[in-house]
Symmetry: C2
Subunit: 404 residues, 2 copies
């Protein structure tokens, strides 16, 4: 008998038929004698409907009331899932975030889990019930309903797995697992059977939107081993954990492409201490995420500063930079026709030559590198957007990712 | 400054535009300096949608999960109503039933309110906030969400009014108040400015479906004076309270017609002790409400037993009666073409001649009386369904109900 935490996302519980499908999957595991805690999201689309209704009554809804509103999405799904289980003879009980003892801080719409009181849940679990928990939500010390923000249901599952010391945590989603590259672009892309937290984090924060970074970080902190897999088939997924077998042999684990970035170049900035700080402080005040910062000395006394920002925040960046540029001089140029390609792998820490292999392969394919940035387990380059897919295929092949 | 509890039903908060309309009404009262607690129902239709979804996943959903599911309807409305108030500059905060400290017993889908802990609510009220409370729901001592059953939101409002010692309790609905008869049938019907709890109870349990009996009973028990009025206009409604001015002068307060009844006649039942008991026990076991029981001696040793049941439960009654009739003899005849007409008034306690006036007026109009039953403040007769509207007009006129 194992203790298993499963999480099903919004598309997996998108309508009554799919909820019944999830219930049938749960029954199979339950009938094997395992203890089960199942975290579910709101039906796909419900959250957006609720937000639309909120905007109709108020241009700028309060975050406290938004949480009160959005929490109903998951509460509907837990009740329906428990009912679907009853319908096929499985003893089950639904828990809201509050009932599951998920206590958070007081930051509405993006609360952090502070502690979990799993006692009531343990009692029902030991009584043989399957427990269905509302993802994405918790309660604070004042009895207010809070929500955890994007990727919150994954976080609920991983936090519960830590709290009840589950043997397994399975994150069901609409993809089969984590691939060496986007299979729609690189046809030889392979599904990874295992990946480390660090690699997953680099991939999550790049283009492979399988999971939000915070859930992976939480799992790493509490050493929760989890599997990402599909709720629409029975294929094994990708197991994410601290140590991966044969890790050192594999230099590069995957290739990720992010086309939702814009490149910002500020030419002829005054090259004196504090100039760059002023630029980035202006961006930080506007809550703009900045990535891949590179500064080169330019003409005498002047420097060139280049970085990337999310494409969706380009207009905000233009606005935020204007006053700062008046102060430090220089002119900003924006380029939307770029993509960021990254190769990720824990193995590259101890292997030289990864950068050389990548750059050589891209050069052969006629791909020009506009920016380069590296971390311990990642090399990222900015290239022309129209070359991104071809570059991903070339890089994938250069590191033999198509071979097991 | 008064303390006012208001309750808005499902049609009053049926869509974002109507929620904004309710918010505007609340703001007017708030701007007069009053303290306000507002109870809202689920948007009209939402509860039925949720029930339909439940039936899709499970033929016979558990009551505990049904409560967990249905509670989301009101939770959505409270958040949207609070947001709509914020949008027009009114400080407001929403409370679920649990947050409002509404503790119930453990009977799911028809819980009874045990106690209300109004401390958190009082605090926000004294801080000047308008408080929006989810009707129809509460929480039991185990932290389970419960619902109060039909008319539950009215009950929430009246119970809260008692708990916070409100000066006024206003039940907003889609009718203007309580009328002397159904205005669609009797064109001279007048809206009553006042009515007693007892009269309202008789009217509620008859055809004038303004409110469920249990809410009126609760109000009578805790002496909560409330007003029934419309949320779609500014007309004054009907005030329901213990003592009504000039009560003794008014003999009959109103005329109610219920067309949703069927008459059951059992002929030639064995006339010995226990026969009738067996019949009604069979009906009680099938949870069928029986009304207006009359037994006459029939042929030697045999009796005739007549009563009414709700039309919707006729088929269930046929089935339930079959085995009992085998035991006690007799044959059941069902008549769906009947209506129950009742005249109600506290004043009739001390006035004789009410029955005579009613029967004479109906006789003049050629209306035959099939059954008669009386209580201290009510006389009910069963008549042919196609004569019901005319009979209501005749009775209304006979008691001068068209005159103030």
């Amino acid at each position: 008998m194992s203790r298993i935490v499963q999480k099903y996302g919004g598309t997996s519980v998108g309508d009554p038929a799919r909820i019944k499908n999830v219930a049938a999957r749960i029954k199979v595991i339950r009938d094997q004698g395992h203890q089960l805690v199942v975290v579910v999201s709101a039906r796909a689309g419900v959250t957006n409907e609720l937000i639309a209704r909120a905007k109709e009554v108020c241009a700028n809804p309060s975050e406290r009331e938004m949480d009160q509103l959005l929490a109903v999405g998951e509460q509907e799904t837990i009740a329906l899932t428990a009912m679907a289980l009853h319908g096929i003879g499985v003893d089950a009980i639904s828990y809201t975030g509050a009932q599951a003892g998920i206590f958070t801080d007081k930051v509405h719409t993006k609360a952090k889990i502070r502690t979990i009181n799993a006692k009531p849940l343990e009692k029902d679990l030991n009584a043989g019930k399957v427990i269905i928990v509302a993802g994405f939500q918790g309660i604070n010390d004042d009895g207010q309903i809070t929500t955890l923000g994007r990727g919150g249901s994954d976080l609920t599952a991983i936090a519960l797995a830590a709290a009840i010391q589950a043997d397994k945590c399975e994150i069901y989603t609409d993809v089969d697992g984590v691939y060496t590259a986007d299979p729609r672009v690189v046809k030889d892309a392979r599904k990874l059977s295992e990946i480390s937290y660090d690699e997953m984090l680099e991939l999550a924060s790049l283009g492979s939107k399988v999971m939000q970074s915070r859930s992976v970080e939480f799992a790493a902190k509490y050493n929760v081993v989890f599997e990402v897999r599909s709720s629409f088939n029975q294929n094994p997924g990708t197991i994410v954990k601290q140590e991966v077998a044969y890790m050192e042999k594999v230099v590069v684990r995957g290739v990720a492409v992010d086309k939702d970035q814009a490149k910002v170049t500020i030419n002829d900035i005054t090259d004196k201490p504090g100039s760059a700080a002023k630029v980035f402080k202006a961006l930080a005040n506007a809550h703009i995420n900045v990535d891949m910062i590179v500064q080169n000395a330019g003409r005498s006394g002047l420097a060139n500063l280049t970085f990337t920002v999310p494409l969706s925040e380009k207009d905000k960046a233009v606005k935020a930079l204007a006053p700062a540029l008046k102060e430090v001089g220089g002119e900003a140029a924006f380029d939307e026709n770029i993509a960021k390609l990254s190769v990720v792998g824990v193995g590259m820490k101890t292997h030289s030559g990864v950068a050389a292999t990548l750059f050589e392969a891209l050069a052969k394919a006629g791909v020009n590198l506009e920016l380069i940035s590296t971390s311990e387990i990642k090399i990222s380059v900015v290239i022309a957007k129209d070359k991104a897919d071809e570059a991903a295929r070339v890089a994938h092949k250069a590191f033999d990712l198509d071979k097991v």
